[in-house]
Each structure stands twice: as C-alpha cells, then as structure tokens.
Symmetry: C2
Subunit: 142 residues, 2 copies
Amino acid sequence: MPKNCNFIEKLREVGLRPTKQRVNMCEVLFNREKTFHFTINDLVKMISEKMNEKISLATVYNTVHALEKKGYLKEISIDSHKSYFDTNTLAHHHFFDEDTHELIDLNESDIDKINIRKNITGKKINSVEVLVRVASDNQNQK
Amino acid sequence: MPKNCNFIEKLREVGLRPTKQRVNMCEVLFNREKTFHFTINDLVKMISEKMNEKISLATVYNTVHALEKKGYLKEISIDSHKSYFDTNTLAHHHFFDEDTHELIDLNESDIDKINIRKNITGKKINSVEVLVRVASDNQNQK
DNA sequence: TCAATAGTTTAGAATTATTATAATGTAGTT
DNA sequence: AACTACATTATAATAATTCTAAACTATTGA
Ligand SMILES: [Mn+2]
Ligand SMILES: [Mn+2]
Ligand SMILES: [Zn+2]
Ligand SMILES: [Zn+2]
C-alpha cells in the first residue's frame, strides 16, 4: 500500500469492508513515510488515540490478521512471548535490541546474500531470515 | 554436558541440587547421541514416562530455566505462540518445517559465514541466527 | 547421626496473550 | 428503506507461563 492513498478504496480492493475502525487502522499503519514494527498493544493505543475513542482488542486482532492474510502485514517471531508485526512485508532481516525490545530493519547492503546449500527432499524454502540480536555494549563489565 | 556422564556430579558443579526430578530431566535431555529440540510439553511427557510418575509443570519450567541460565539449554524463537528449546547451545542456524513444526539444525557447511556490515553505536552483536522456513513442495497447487 | 537450613517441588491460583461466542451494529445492495 | 452479509463489541474461554505458599528434601555441620 503506497502512502497517502485512499484507504476506503484500498480496503474495498482486497475485499475488506471499509469500516471506521479499519480505515483508521490503515491510516495508522500505512499513512507514513517509513514502514514500522508494532505489537498489538502498541496498535490498540495508537488507533484509540487517533479515533479519540476506544477500539476493541478483538477488532484489532481480527483486522491485523485480515491484513496479514491479504499480504499487507507480516508477523515477525523474535520473542516467544509476544507477537511483533511489520508493515514491511518484503523479505528482510532484523536487528533486535534486547535492551529496548525494538526491531530495526537491516538494509540489503548491510548483509551478503545468503545461500543455503542444503535442501530437504519434498520441501521448498519459503523464507530465509536473519535475526541479529544486539545489546548495549558496556565495556565496564566483568 | 558430555553424554553418559554422572548428572549428580554435573548438577552439583553448576550449583543445582541433584534432586530426583533434575537428574531425570538431565538424563532425558543430555544422555543421548545427538542434540535435540523440544517444547516444555514434550519434555514433561518424556520425563513423566521415564520416572513413571508425574512431574509438575512448574518444576519443568523452573528447571529448564535454571539450565538455560547455566548455559546448558537455549531458547529458540520461531513461533510467537510456543517456546522451543535446544540442547545444542552453540550458535547455529535452523530449518523450521512449517508443516510438522519441527526444527532441524543447519550444518556449518550448509551456509556461508554471515557478515553484518552495519553496526549500531553503543550496541554489540550478541548473535546472528538464520531461520529457514520450509514447507512441503506440492507442485500440484494453483 | 540428625536437626537446622536453604533450596526444591508441588498443586493450584494468577497473569498474559490470544481466540471464540453471540448479541448488536453497519456497509453494500436492491 | 429493507435486506443481508459481514464487522464490532463485551465478555468468556483457552493456552502458555509465572507466582504463591505450603510441604518436602538435600546438604551441612554439631
Ligand atoms: Mn499470530
Ligand atoms: Mn521463556
Ligand atoms: Zn522489519
Ligand atoms: Zn538447534
């Protein structure tokens, strides 16, 4: 989804009814310069603030999954205890800051192309993703 | 922990009391030819079968985390909905079979060394791990 | 040897993330 | 406007994990 588009149209195109909640969610998610990473709770807060009224948690879950199914969002597995989503749905790699729990995209130029030499019979590779865990570099530690 | 060792000694060495539950858990985990991947529920079943009596879930969680803290187990993040652990605590990469939800180690020879060219000021890299998602290759799909 | 102590196990309750339910509401169509 | 299909909501249910506090046990050292 390009930025600044009419989300009413966009939602219709993918067969999702453009309800008030969905249009607001799309604006929060896609009407911005850069892609970003979020948790469901982040998103609930952002949408509620934008709408100036509460949105139900269930709606946010439902709509996130609807957008994910349509290919507009991607789930990122980093932490077994919480789901992170990404508005950047292209294949890409991440830094995960273990101090702040923030995700940062790696640029293509930051890493060489990865070549997997093994293949498992009857199985095809769906994705190859790298997770680089970083944490504050306190040189004052034993 | 090498295989076939005396886990009573091993546990003492790392400062964990060698209780019946822990010794049995260690035998299930480490007294085998190859390292393996498991979920907490897998492990509860395996230990209960070995001991021929039930072991409390809380004990398994506690002990897994104790062993993890001592560096004998590693948690693997693949799926935000369940924790996987690995008795192979060395840095290594994985295949994840999306059909069976099985984890398989990649050998060193299966992939080139990964070089991260970006660095984040004040942060050091803790790990660089690759996850290769695979699924059955049905060429008979539209 | 055995009591004191510190650490461990346990059942069950609590917490958290997520999903299901079912009643109510709304968008799209005629 | 009326009909219908789909969406939203509050709330309940579920599942993974952690907490609690009482009972238990390994270790120590008198
Ligand atoms: Mn999910
Ligand atoms: Mn964990
Ligand atoms: Zn990303
Ligand atoms: Zn592994």
